[in-house]
Amino acid sequence: MKKFEYTEKKDTRSGFGDGLYELGKKNPDVVALCADLTGSLKMNAFANEFPERFIQSGIAEANMMGAAAGMTIGGKIPFAGTFAGFATGRVYDQIRQSIAYSNKNVKICASHAGITLGEDGATHQIMEDIGLMKMLPNMTVINPCDYNQTKAATKAIADYMGPVYLRFGRPAIPVFTPADQKFEIGKAVQLTEGSDLTIFATGHLVWESILACQVLEKKGISVELINIHTIKPLDKNAVLQSVAKTKAVVTAEEHMMNGGLGDSIAQLLALENPTPVEMVAVDDTFGESGTPAQLMEKYGVDSKSVVAAAERVLKRK
């Protein structure tokens, strides 16, 4: 199996902040809005360097989303940032009508997504956001896997015309994708080649799946690992091609099973090529306070859960 190495750990939200800062230097149409979480979203560099293009929205997310939609008219490219829960559920109708239905060029930038937010607990650990956003027509949904990919994705979505939901997280995790990668929206990234099963992973679970692949390889199981950084539009060809070969699937994500990557893949396979699927995801429960590692273990979204799901699906082949 291909070796994956990393020299440092970094949070994906810093990838967003650094990408946004570079965009600011390059593209005068890029503006940023934030709802009193500038430090948490690492937007300080942009805010300090381009104060005339940074709109502090206060703790008023509904107004921020509406204002972002308004700013697109005339050509600005607003990046509106807050925690994932407040960026989706809190303002769902503003997003639905003023951004998605109106097809406005707003980039919704959602940090601290998922259970790895940790100690703050369930009120802040949204695991429904991918589902909420992918259900909206016109919405693109992206969940990159590490610092470098988040930075590349942040820059790439400025060149795409249309609403985007960009999801990233709080904890420092291994940086293992190339710094110079070209980010292609809607294009899956194959990480390993294998024949026994395919793991489709997104976000923080991509690294966990790499760890799982190392364990599975020692057990003589050949895994094809594919990073689905764009959940919508889904790279259907990549999914179907791999599954035609391996005939068994594990999906892995830091999200509810309902509404996540897993059910997008399962829906595609049910329609096109019915195949056994096991899902690594949170099963219809709210989270709680704890360290990210404790919570990933308790709620079944870590490398161990991926290994167990792989073994289950092979028995169903």
Binding site: S40, Q56, A60, E119, D120, T123, H124, E288
Partner: protein, 274 residues
Amino acid sequence: MSNADSGKLKEIAFNIRKEVLKSLHQAQSGHLGGSLGLADIFTVLYFHFLNHKPKNPSWPERDRLILSIGHVVPVQYASLALAGYFPKEELYTLRKLGSRLQGHPGKSHGLPGIELSSGSLGQGLSIAVGMAIAAKADKKAHRIVSIHGDGELQEGSIWEAAMSASHYKLDNIIAIVDRNHKQIDGDTKSVMQIEPLTDKWKAFGWNVLMCDGNSIEDIIITLQNADKCKDKPSVVIAETKMSKGIKEIEDNHQWHGKVPGDDEIEKFIHALTK
């Protein structure tokens, strides 16, 4: 009230601050500044103003306390423990896996004295409105006290609730605004101006009272006055200092979401005065 009574309450406020410091120190994450700033208000509420029974937390006649700013819950946990709702030792499980003391209050975790889950801002006043309407419908005399941040008032939903509270003449609500002039990104006046605050609440039909939110005596008198108001909801704009009690870090917004380190905890506890 007598000097002896007020001395007793100051002692309790001191102990609440000490427990806030200790529980956040062991947790190594959470929100110290607002929790310390509210210690005097929580002391008056739980040890003087509210009708409640720590051994019977669901007593139907109890006054309801709604913490709309869930992130300062360490001050509520410390108050509940010292009032006898649960053993003090449990405070040191704050934010740990499996604890009833969630980082933001989680109703389903079963901690006595918690009325609802909160943490996402701007929702508590609507809950208070619902409780107040229900109490009036049932001809119950209990009061509803809700606690809000000044930054939280930037949420539009607060003003939807404010409008309905005066529309329904909910004089059984007292909303307390923790006016520390700070929020995560800095001073409220630079992040998003909320003044003229008194005029805003008045325009929404509320009885508005001001007080020194770090003075036990002033908090007591103000709440008594709020209680007397009929046919209108009351809001108390309580001027407080973030991190009140520890001079070194008072009024510094960087302590919104910070906790004392190993090198600071003894110094901070020592700095507290009764």
